[in-house]
C-alpha cells in the first residue's frame, strides 16, 4: 500500500486524545518523549482483541486460542519487518525498554567476568545505567562512561581511547531523551565490534523518529517501548541477533519458555519463546503490531521532516528569549527542545504551562547524572511528534512568556 501524502490535520483526526480540553483550554501535548498518544486504530485493535479474540496463546487447541496465537505471531513478524530483522526469532516481546535492557544485562551478563568493562555514555537515562550497575555488583565488572561536550555530543576521541579488549558491551542510547542528540551509532557499533564488544542500542527515542534497519546498523541488540511509538504501555521489544540470543541463558522461568519440565531438570524452548516466560501481554503485542502498521501507512520521511521543522521553529523563537538556555545543541538532533531559564525553576514553569493547557516534561528526565554534568536541577522539555503544529508552538510560546512574566515580576 502506497503511503498517503502527509497531512498534519488529517493525522490529528486519528488521535482522540488530542481533541480534549484541560482546565478549559485546548490540550497541547508536547510530552511525546515520555509517551506518545494513541491513534484510534490501536484503540480499536485492543477493544476488538478483548471483546472477541481473547484467549491464551501457544497452548489451546480451540479456535480462539489459535486466532490469538496467529495475531500475536503476526505482530512479531510485522515488527521484525519494520526494523529489518532477519527472522521473527530475533524479536522478543518484553515489558518495555527497561525490561529489555535488564534481560540483556542479566542473561548476556552471565558470561562476564571480574574486570570486564561495560561502556555507557554520560547521556544515558537511568534505565541504561542501573541494570549495568547491578551487573557490575554481581560480577565485579567495571562501568565506564563516555563523556560528552557541553553541546551534548559524545566525545568520540575519548570513546576510542576507552575501547579495549576488556570491553564486553557498549550500551548506548540511539537518541538522547533529554538532549535530542542523535548519536553516530553506525560508527560506534563498528568501532566497538573491532575490539570484540557487543552493542546494545537503546532505541526508545529513535524508533518513532527514524527508519530503523537493525541489519544495516549491525547492532547486536536493539530495544524499544511500545508506548513511545503510538502503541500500548507495558509492551516492548528486544531485538537480538539470533546466534547471540541462542547462546544466552533464559532470563525468567515459567510456562511457554520450556520444552520439557521434570522435577530433576527442565529443557528450554527455542527462540523467541525461551525469553517469554508466562502468559505475555498478548493484547499489548497485538496493539503494538497495529501501531507499527499505522506507521507503515504514513509517509514517515515527510513526518520526520515535519518534526524537524517544528523543532527548528521552536528553537528559533526560544533562542531570542533573554536568559533562556537551550540544553542540547548537537548538530544532529531530533524533535526535543530542552531548556532552562535563569532564576526560574523548571517545576514552576511546567506548572504554569500546565494550567494553560500545555503538557511538557520538567525535571531531570530520569537522567540525573546528565543534569549533574550541566549543573542544573532539571530542564523544561518540549518534545514533538508528527501530530504537533506550528500553531501549537505559537500558543506554547505565548504561554511561556506569560509564565515568565508572572515568575519574574
Amino acid at each position: 500500500m502506497a503511503p498517503v501524502p502527509f497531512s498534519v490535520s488529517a493525522i490529528r483526526e486519528l488521535f482522540p486524545a488530542l481533541r480534549q480540553k484541560v482546565y478549559g483550554k485546548q490540550l497541547i501535548y508536547f510530552d511525546n518523549g515520555a509517551t506518545s498518544q494513541k491513534p484510534q486504530v490501536v484503540l480499536d485493535t485492543l477493544q476488538q482483541y478483548y471483546a472477541l479474540e481473547n484467549a491464551n496463546i501457544h497452548r489451546g487447541v480451540h479456535y480462539l486460542s489459535q486466532q490469538a496465537t496467529s495475531a500475536y505471531e503476526a505482530a512479531r513478524r510485522n515488527i521484525q519487518q519494520y526494523i529489518g530483522a532477519k527472522a521473527p526469532e530475533e524479536i522478543i516481546f518484553t515489558k518495555g525498554t527497561t525490561d529489555s535492557i535488564n534481560l540483556v544485562a542479566f542473561s548476556f551478563g552471565e558470561r562476564l567476568k571480574p574486570g570486564d568493562e561495560i561502556l555507557i555514555s554520560a547521556m544515558e537515562p537511568h534505565s541504561n545505567i542501573v541494570p549495568w550497575q547491578l551487573l557490575c555488583e554481581r560480577k565485579g565488572c567495571i562501568l565506564r562512561v563516555i563523556p560528552i561536550s557541553k553541546k551534548g555530543e559524545l566525545d568520540l576521541q575519548a570513546f576510542e581511547q576507552m575501547l579495549n579488549e576488556r570491553t564486553k558491551i557498549l550500551a548506548i542510547t540511539h537518541i538522547s531523551n533529554t538532549l535530542g542528540t542523535i548519536n553516530p551509532v553506525k560508527e560506534l557499533i563498528s568501532k566497538a565490534h573491532q575490539v570484540g564488544a557487543k552493542v546494545l542500542l537503546d532505541g526508545a527515542q529513535s524508533i518513532q523518529h527514524l527508519s530503523i534497519d537493525v541489519q544495516d546498523l549491525n547492532c547486536d541488540f536493539y530495544t524499544f517501548s511500545g508506548h513511545k511509538v503510538f502503541g500500548p504501555t507495558g509492551i516492548g521489544i528486544l531485538y537480538g541477533k539470533e546466534a547471540l540470543l541462542d547462546s544466552m541463558p533464559p532470563y525468567q522461568g515459567g510456562g511457554d519458555m520450556i520444552a520439557k519440565v521434570t522435577f530433576e531438570r527442565s529443557t528450554y524452548n527455542m527462540l523467541p519463546l525461551k525469553f517469554e516466560a508466562g502468559t505475555p501481554h498478548i493484547a499489548g503485542a497485538i496493539g503494538l503490531g497495529s501501531a507499527i502498521s499505522f506507521l507503515q501507512g504514513l509517509d514517515m520521511q515527510a513526518a520526520a521532516a515535519h518534526e524537524l521543522e517544528l523543532t527548528k521553529y521552536a528553537q528559533g523563537i526560544l533562542d531570542t528569549f533573554e536568559g533562556l538556555h537551550i540544553i542540547g545543541e548537537a548538530k544532529h538532533k531530533t524533535s526535543v527542545v530542552s531548556f532552562t531559564i535563569d532564576g526560574m525553576h523548571p517545576f514552576d514553569i511546567g506548572t504554569l504551562l500546565d494550567k494553560q493547557g500545555i503538557a511538557v516534561r520538567t525535571g531531570h528526565h530520569c537522567t540525573q547524572p546528565l543534569m549533574d554534568f550541566y549543573q542544573i536541577p532539571g530542564t523544561v522539555r518540549a518534545s514533538f511528534a508528527f501530530y504537533n503544529t506550528k500553531e501549537e508552538i505559537d500558543i506554547f510560546v505565548a504561554a511561556l512568556e506569560r509564565s515568565m512574566q508572572i515568575l519574574g515580576a
Binding site: H345, P346, F347, D348, L352, K355, P377, I406
Partner: protein
C-alpha cells in the same frame, strides 16, 4: 486562632479566584514573600528531596508551640509552604497531630500533595507531623 479557622480563612481567600492562572499568581506572590532560610540552615538533615523540587524545613518549639520555617528552590512549592507554615505555626504539637489538613484540597491544589507529584511537599507535611510527635515525646 485554631488550625481549623486558619484553613477556612485560606479557603475564603482563594474563593475569589476562578481562573487557575490568577490562583497561581497569588501563590507565587506568597512564595516570594516567605522569608528565605539562611544558607547555614539549609543542611542535608533539613533537606527533603523531591523529584521535581527540593524543600528545606527548620523546626523550633517556643512555649510549647511549634515554629516552622521552610524554603524551596521552586517558587510555587514555596508559596504552598507559606500556607502550610501559616496553618501550623504557633500551634501545639497535639493540635497539629489531631488536625485534619483539608484546605489544600479545597483550594484545588491536591495535585501538589499527591505522592506522584514528588515535589517534596507531601514529605514535608509528614515531617512536620513527625517533628510535632517528637516534641510531644520529649
Amino acid at each position: 486562632m485554631s488550625i481549623q479557622v486558619k484553613q477556612q480563612e485560606i479557603i475564603d481567600e482563594f474563593a475569589i479566584y476562578d481562573d487557575w492562572m490568577d490562583k497561581y499568581e497569588y501563590i507565587i506572590e506568597l512564595g516570594k514573600s516567605v522569608p528565605t532560610l539562611s544558607p547555614e540552615l539549609k543542611t542535608t538533615e533539613r533537606l527533603i528531596e523531591g523529584c521535581q523540587s527540593n524543600v528545606w524545613l527548620a523546626t523550633d518549639i517556643k512555649d510549647g508551640k511549634m515554629q516552622f520555617s521552610a524554603d524551596s528552590d521552586a517558587i510555587i512549592t514555596k508559596g504552598i509552604i507559606g500556607l502550610l507554615i501559616h496553618v501550623y505555626n504557633n500551634e501545639s504539637p497535639a493540635a497539629i497531630l489531631q488536625a485534619e489538613l483539608f484546605f489544600i484540597n479545597e483550594i484545588g491544589l491536591a495535585e501538589h500533595l499527591s505522592p506522584t507529584r514528588a515535589n517534596g511537599l507531601l514529605s514535608m507535611v509528614k515531617r512536620m507531623k513527625t517533628e510535632a510527635l517528637q516534641s510531644l515525646a520529649q
